[in-house]
C-alpha cells in the first residue's frame, strides 16, 4: 500500500515536472490560450481545462496499458511519436489557428436547418475540442516527457503493478500546471476587464490571441522539426 502511495505521489510529481520543463513550453502556451479564451464564462474555462487535462490523462493511460502489457516496444513507440507527432503538430496547429482566426471555415452542403443546428453547436464543439487537443499534445512527446514517461513512469508502473492509476496521475500532473495557470489568467483578465467594463472586447481579443498563438507555435514547430532551422 505504501509502495503504491509513494508511486502515486511520484507519478503526479513526474507529470508536473514534465509540464514545467522548457520543452513542452510552446504547446503549454497554446493550451493555456485555448482554455482561457472563453473568459466571460468561468464555468467554460474550468470545463475546458478539465477536458484538456483528462484528454492528456486518457492518452497516457492507454499508452501505459499497452506498454506495461508489453504489447508495444518502448523505444520504437517513443521514437516514432517523437519523430512524427512533433513534425505533424506544426501544420495542424497552423490550420487550427486559422480556424480560430476565422481565416478558414467549414463549408456544409446540407440543408439550411442542419447547417443552422451545426452552427449553433460549434461553440460547444470548441470547448469539447480541448479533449482531443490534450490527447494530441500528450502524444507529441518531447525529450523531457519521453524521458520521464518512458524512462521513469513506465518502470514505476511495472514495479508497482499499476498500469492505470500511475499513468492517470502522471497525465493529470502534466495538465495540472496548465489548468491552474489558465484559470488564474482567465479569472485575472476577467476581473480586470470587468473593472473597466470591457469584458466583451477583451473576450473577442482573447479569441484572436489564441488563434495567433496557435499559428505562431505551429510555424515554430514546422521550422524546428520539419525544416531543422533551430538545430
Amino acid at each position: 500500500m505504501e509502495g503504491l502511495l509513494f508511486g502515486a505521489g511520484s507519478a503526479l510529481w513526474l507529470g508536473i515536472l514534465t509540464s514545467i520543463s522548457p520543452c513542452p513550453l510552446a504547446t503549454n502556451i497554446a493550451a493555456i490560450s485555448f482554455i482561457c479564451r472563453d473568459l466571460a464564462t468561468p464555468r467554460k474555462v474550468l470545463l475546458t481545462g478539465t477536458l484538456y487535462t483528462l484528454g492528456r490523462a486518457v492518452t497516457y493511460v492507454a499508452l501505459g496499458a499497452l506498454l506495461v502489457g508489453s504489447l508495444l516496444s518502448m523505444p520504437q513507440v517513443s521514437n516514432l511519436l517523437q519523430k512524427y507527432m512533433n513534425k505533424l503538430l506544426g501544420p495542424i496547429l497552423i490550420l487550427v489557428g486559422m480556424f480560430l482566426l476565422d481565416l478558414l471555415s467549414f463549408r456544409f452542403s446540407f440543408s439550411a436547418p442542419v447547417t443552422e443546428s451545426l452552427q449553433k453547436r460549434m461553440p460547444a464543439w470548441g470547448m469539447w475540442g480541448a479533449a482531443p487537443l490534450g490527447m494530441f499534445f500528450a502524444l507529441a512527446f518531447c525529450p523531457v516527457s519521453a524521458a520521464l514517461f518512458f524512462g521513469s513512469l513506465i518502470p514505476l508502473s511495472l514495479k508497482t503493478g499499476s498500469s492505470v492509476i500511475l499513468p492517470l496521475l502522471y497525465g493529470l500532473g502534466t495538465g495540472l500546471p496548465v489548468f491552474v495557470f489558465a484559470v488564474l489568467i482567465a479569472l485575472g483578465a476577467r476581473s480586470v476587464s470587468q473593472a473597466f467594463d470591457k469584458l466583451t472586447q477583451v473576450e473577442k481579443w482573447a479569441r484572436g490571441v489564441t488563434g495567433l498563438i496557435f499559428v505562431a507555435v505551429g510555424i515554430y514547430f514546422s521550422l524546428a522539426y520539419i525544416f531543422g532551422v533551430f538545430s
Binding site: 520543452c23 523505444p75 520504437q76 521514437n79 512533433n86 523531457v144 521513469s152 514546422s222
Partner: protein, 173 residues
C-alpha cells in the same frame, strides 16, 4: 486582394510546403527498426568499440569504458544541458583516464546516416547517456544513465551521479 486573403493563402502555402518537404524527406530516408532487449545488459553486443587505426599509431590504450551521449538533429535546451553536464562530469572527474584513452566520450546524432542502429542496440527512447564497458575490443556490458533527466535541475547531484557510475564501470574492468 485584402490582407486577410493574403495571410490566409500565405499560411496555406506554408502548410503545404511543410507537408511536402516532410514527405519528400521521409521518403528518401531509410526506416529500419528491430527489437532490442534490456536496459542494462551484459554480454557481447554491437562491436562499437573496436580499436581505431590511429589509436595503434598514437600508442593509446584501447578504451575500457565508452560514454555515449545520443541526440537527434533537433536539440532542445534540456538536451544541450545534459550533454554539457555529462561532458563536464567526465572531463573534471577523469582527466587521466581520458588522456590515456581508457575512457572515451562520444557524441552521436542517431538521425545521421548509419547511426539509427544505436536506437535498437541501447533501447534509446530519448536523448540518452549510455555507459559501455569494453573487453578485448568488444562490448561487455552497458547501462543507460536514466537519472540524468531527473537530476537536471541539480548540477552537483548530476555530476556526482555520472562520475560515480563511470567510476563503477572503470573499476569493474
Amino acid at each position: 486582394m485584402t490582407p486577410k486573403i493574403v495571410i490566409k493563402f500565405s499560411l496555406l502555402v506554408f502548410v503545404f510546403v511543410s507537408l511536402g518537404f516532410l514527405m519528400t524527406k521521409e521518403a528518401s530516408r531509410d526506416t529500419s527498426s528491430a527489437n532490442g532487449a534490456g536496459d542494462s545488459q551484459s554480454g557481447e553486443g554491437p562491436n562499437v568499440g573496436s580499436v581505431p587505426a590511429d589509436r595503434a599509431v598514437s600508442g593509446k590504450a584501447a578504451p575500457r569504458v565508452v560514454t555515449y551521449y545520443f541526440h537527434t538533429t533537433f536539440r532542445c535546451v534540456s538536451c544541450r544541458k545534459i550533454e554539457a553536464y555529462s561532458r563536464e562530469a567526465i572531463e573534471r572527474g577523469f582527466p587521466h583516464e581520458l588522456r590515456e584513452g581508457k575512457l572515451e566520450w562520444k557524441v552521436i546524432n542517431v538521425e545521421e546516416d548509419g547511426n539509427s542502429h544505436f536506437i535498437d542496440d541501447y533501447r534509446l527512447f530519448t536523448k540518452s547517456l549510455i555507459l559501455v564497458r569494453m573487453k578485448d575490443g568488444k562490448q561487455a556490458e552497458w547501462k543507460n544513465l536514466r537519472k540524468v533527466w531527473e537530476l537536471l535541475n541539480n548540477k552537483e547531484a548530476f555530476l556526482r551521479y555520472v562520475q560515480e557510475e563511470v567510476r563503477t564501470y572503470l573499476e569493474a574492468v
